[in-house]
Amino acid sequence: MIKALVLGGGGAKGFAHVGVIRALEEKGFVPDLIIGVSAGALVGAGYALLSDSKRLWEISLEICRKGKKQLRFANSAARENRGLLFNAATCFHINTFKALPFGLYLNALKKGLKGYRFSDTRIPFKCVSTIMDSGELFVHEEGSIFEALRASMAIPGIISPFSHKGFSLADGGIVNNIPVSIAKEEGCTLVLAVDLSSNNRKVGIDTSNSILEIIDVYKVEEFQRKELAVADVVISPLNKRNIGLLDFSSCIELMNESYEETLKFDLIGVSQ
C-alpha cells in the first residue's frame, strides 16, 4: 500500500494540519508521500523535512507565539467589521500596488527554510501552484522548497505571483485546493485528505463583491467535491467551521482542536 497525505489550503487554518499530523502519527499513520497546497504545502514541507510530528508541533507552537505579535497586520486585516475608509484604502491599494506588504513574512520563511531542497526531505513531498497564464496546475517536486512554497502560497491579492521557470505562479488553491487527483496519478493506493474548507460563512447579496464571492465559492466547492470523491479517507478537523483566511489569532487552539478531532477518527485498516 502506498499511502499519501494530501493537505488542503486554508490560510491561517493551515495550523490545523499540525494537529492532524501529530494525531495520525500517534495512530501509526506515516505517509509515503505528502502533497500540499498553499498553507498545506507549508506544513507538509515542514513535516516532510522533519519526519517528526512532535518536533513539527513544537516549532509550530513557537511560530504561533511569535506570530501573534509579528502578524499584527494580518490579524488586523482579518477583522470582520471594516469601515468604508478601509474599503476605499484597500481598493486604492490593490489597484496601485502589486499586493499587500507581506515581504517581511516571506523573508522570515526564506530564512527559516535555510535553502532546503526537495531532495532533502525525509518523506517524499510535492506541492502545487497555479500557472496564471494558462490556468493549469504546476506540480513542484524538485529544486528549492522555498521557491515552491512561495508560489503555492501566493494568495491572490495578498502575496504577489512568483516567476519560476518562465511561468507566473500563484496559489495552487485557485485551481485545486485539495489535490487528491495528483496523489492518485502518482499511483498512491491510499489517499488520506485533510480538508480545511468552511461552509457556514454567511454572505449577503447586498454588494457586488459579495455576489462574486458567492459564485466563486460555488466553483471552489464543485472542484473540491470532485477531488474529495476520489480520496479514500477524508478528515475535516475543523468540522467546516469558518475561520478567516488571515486570522492567525487562534492558531494554537486550531492545532489542539484538530489534534483532538483526529484522535477520535477511526483509522482501522489505514494506519498499518
Partner: protein, 241 residues
C-alpha cells in the same frame, strides 16, 4: 438538440458571428450580452437587436471595461485606475452601478413566448437554473450582469461569472459555442488584476470540467473582442447585417 450560446463581457459578443449557422434554431440556452442580442433579434429583428446592443455597450462602456479586467493600455493608465477605484468602492457597498430603470429601458417592446432560455445563477438557493418561456424575462436575465445591475428578481444573475459560457445544462447532441476568454493575451500587474485573473481561471476550469464530462459538439470561437476593439467589432457586425 440545444445550442449553448454566450460568453463573458465583450468577448461574449464574438459569438454573434456564429449565429447565422443557427438562425432556424429555437432551442438555445443563452447568457451575457450575446444572449441578450439573440432574444432581441428573435423578438424585434436583427437591426433593432444590433442597435440596442450597440447602445447598451456605449452607455455602460466604462463599467463593462472595468469588468473586462486585464492590463490597462498606456493611454488609460491614470483614468483607468481612477475608474477601477471608483467602481471598487461602489461594489464594496452596493450590488449595482445602474438602477433598474436603466436596465428596463433595454427591455421595452420585448414580449411573447419563446423556446429560448437564459442560464442564471440563483444567489439564494446557490443553484444554476434556466429562465424560460417569456422572451422579456430571458432578455432581462441575460443582462443581469453582477456589478452592472442588481440581480434580476432579487436573486438571479447571468452565468458569465460562473462559467463564462452557458454549460450547466448540457445534453447529448447539444452544440456549444466555445467562446472562452484567452488568458495569454495580457499579464496581471496589480493585485486587483491578479484577483480577477484567479476568478477567471476558476470560471474557465469550471466550464472545462463540465465540458470534459459531456459528449457535446463544439464550435470554437477564434475572434477576440475586448474593450479596445469592441466598437470596431460591432461596426463589422453591422456591415454584415
Amino acid at each position: 438538440m440545444k445550442i449553448h450560446f454566450g460568453g463573458y463581457g465583450f468577448q461574449g459578443l464574438a459569438s454573434i458571428e456564429y449565429l447565422g449557422d443557427f438562425e432556424s434554431e429555437s432551442r438555445m440556452v443563452l447568457n451575457g450580452l450575446a444572449g441578450y442580442y439573440v432574444a432581441v433579434e428573435r423578438a424585434m429583428g436583427k437591426k433593432e437587436a444590433l442597435y440596442r446592443l450597440s447602445k447598451f455597450v456605449d452607455e455602460f462602456f466604462v463599467t463593462l471595461e472595468v469588468m473586462d479586467g486585464g492590463a490597462l493600455s498606456s493611454k488609460k493608465i491614470v483614468s483607468g485606475k481612477l475608474e477601477r477605484i471608483r467602481h471598487c468602492c461602489i461594489w464594496s457597498k452596493s450590488n449595482h452601478i445602474y438602477g433598474i430603470a436603466a436596465r428596463d429601458s433595454y427591455l421595452d417592446g420585448i414580449a411573447g413566448e419563446t423556446e429560448l432560455s437564459a442560464e442564471v445563477f440563483n444567489l439564494e438557493t446557490r443553484k444554476v437554473e434556466l429562465i424560460r418561456d417569456d422572451m422579456r424575462e430571458v432578455a432581462a436575465a441575460c443582462i443581469s450582469i453582477p456589478g452592472l445591475f442588481a440581480p434580476y428578481n432579487d436573486v438571479y444573475v447571468t452565468t458569465t461569472y460562473l462559467s463564462q459560457i452557458p454549460v450547466s445544462f448540457l445534453s447529448e447532441g447539444d452544440i456549444v459555442i466555445l467562446n472562452l476568454r484567452d488568458l495569454s493575451t495580457d499579464k496581471p500587474s496589480t493585485a486587483s488584476e491578479v484577483i480577477f485573473r484567479a476568478m477567471e481561471i476558476r470560471s474557465l476550469n469550471y466550464a472545462k470540467m463540465i465540458l470534459a464530462n459531456s459528449s457535446c459538439a463544439s464550435v470554437r470561437v477564434k475572434t477576440r473582442v475586448h474593450s479596445d476593439n469592441v466598437f470596431d467589432y460591432l461596426d463589422q457586425v453591422r456591415r454584415s447585417v
